[in-house]
């Protein structure tokens, strides 16, 4: 299985990266960990003339937490390195869980968060978590930087908001409010090395009483071409104390807006059923992180 021929470019810094991208435009593809790009290039279809390797750029590999700005992750930061930051597990549990489930150890060692987002696969694990955690991406280009929420960045199946000459610089996750918790739950058929069939990420913020829900966000994964922010469903939770009925209403509302595909892996109908289970489970786990064991 040979890769098609291309020219390999390894910029020394982001300045050079920007100029290479503007020189080569559509003929170039960025290579980070390569776990998506090289696999795709081995199948017919994707044949860039230039491959621009960003994996050596320290400027894009940092992972920094600041109590004010939040967590800033360079687009080329490795999935494993992100998981190993204690603050990620502590404050952004949904993201941690979504990374933990990606591929296997080798894939997490090689793959980057930026790659997972830019690849824009409907089945990618981190985007739903990032959406639920209200993450924003910074895009760098000749005309300066742009910032937008992850759900706007991912435009469709394998489509992003990146324009010619632009690249993804970093991902910023705001500091979660006090009394908040988050979780990412996914469903898969094989125990390991498996992409999700359906996925859900939930973030909840509770009032001081640790019971009433102050705010919530829900993101649905693999049930449409892009992650779906289920804001209307999440709103149902606000001001309420959780109950089985409430959660069923919410999960039903999520199922109603989902648009899963029907393929040989599972039917759309079944995916919707699973989606509801995951909404409830993810909510439970996020809620328990703050409220303790009792609903």
């Amino acid at each position: 299985m040979y890769l098609p021929s291309f020219q390999y470019l390894a910029p020394k810094d982001t300045g050079e990266l920007a100029s290479l991208l503007s020189d080569h435009g559509d003929k170039a593809r960025i290579l980070s960990g390569g776990t998506d790009l090289l696999v795709q290039m081995k199948s017919p279809g994707l044949r860039p003339d230039f491959v621009i390797d960003i994996s050596g750029l320290d400027e894009l590999s940092g992972i920094n937490f600041d109590a004010k700005t939040g967590l800033v992750i360079g687009s080329a930061a490795k999935l494993d390195d992100i998981m190993e930051m204690p603050v990620v597990k502590e404050k952004y549990f949904a993201l941690w869980q979504s990374i933990e489930t990606i591929g296997a150890r080798q894939i997490r060692t090689m793959g980057s968060l930026g790659g997972n987002i830019c690849n824009a696969s409907p089945a990618a694990d981190t985007p739903p978590a990032l959406v639920a955690l209200s993450a924003e991406v910074s895009i760098a280009g000749a005309k300066g930087d742009r910032v937008m929420p992850v759900e706007e960045f991912i435009r469709g199946n394998r489509q992003t908001a990146l324009k010619k000459g632009e690249y993804l610089k970093s991902i910023t996750l705001p500091v979660p409010e006090k009394n908040s918790g988050s979780a990412y739950h996914h469903f898969r058929v094989r125990g390991g090395m498996e992409i999700a069939m359906v996925a859900v990420a939930v973030q909840v913020v509770l009032e001081k009483n640790n019971k009433t829900i102050k705010d919530a966000s829900i993101a649905l994964g693999v049930v449409g071409p892009t992650p779906i922010r289920a804001d209307d469903a999440a709103k149902i939770l606000v001001g309420q104390k959780p109950s089985e009925d409430l959660l069923q209403t919410v999960s039903q509302a999520c199922a109603d807006i989902s648009k899963p595909i029907d393929d040989f892996r599972a039917s759309a109908e079944y995916r919707k059923e699973i989606l509801q289970v995951l909404v409830e489970e993810a909510f439970d786990e996020a809620y328990i992180q703050v409220a303790g064991d009792s609903k």
């Binding site: 390569g34 090289l38 150890r105 080798q106």
Partner: protein, 166 residues
């Protein structure tokens, strides 16, 4: 365009002419004759091509050779030192974590990477940590046994590297 690349493999410098589209697996197997690294799928799904880059497990079938300059690469050929097996090799051999052997180099390099990151993994951590390596022969039981034995220090000062059966 081919270029000369300096690769540091198993503590030795290699100067190789490679094209950008050659994977590290292709280069070690075809250009350097180190065929211990195996290919089962060539797209990241099976782990047979696992090698260490800077101490961590990587899939050489989806790693570019040109991008591997300046890194410390270890293949299965690099584990045995002066005719003495690495503990994990010894354990896989003795516990019969090897049958047909096609997955074995990848399994060993993956276990090596796992133990580098976590020298005393629990059983559950071994199960998760080895999930990127498919083995069709063993059902994994004896591979778990071997990694556990190494983690438990059972092979710490293993002197025998004899293939010997006795």
């Amino acid at each position: 365009m081919k270029q000369v690349v300096q690769l540091n493999i198993n503590d030795s410098p290699y100067e190789v002419m490679v094209a950008p589209n050659e994977t590290l697996a292709d280069v070690v197997r075809r250009k350097l004759g180190m065929t211990g690294t195996k290919l089962g799928c060539e797209q990241g799904d099976c782990g047979a091509c696992t090698i260490l880059i800077d101490g961590r497990s990587h899939l050489s079938c989806i790693t570019l050779a040109v991008a591997s300059e300046g890194k410390e690469i270890v293949t299965i050929e690099g584990l045995e030192k002066d005719g003495k097996l690495d503990p994990i090799q010894q354990a896989i051999l003795e516990k019969q974590g090897v049958q047909c052997g096609i997955c074995t180099p990848g399994v060993i390099m993956s276990a090596k990477g796992l133990l580098n990151e976590n020298p005393e993994p629990s059983h559950a951590e071994i199960v998760v940590g080895m999930s990127g390596n498919l083995c069709r022969c063993t059902g994994y039981e004896k591979i778990f046994d071997a990694v556990e034995a190494v983690a438990a220090g059972e092979y710490d000062d293993e002197k025998t590297s004899q293939a010997g059966a006795e």
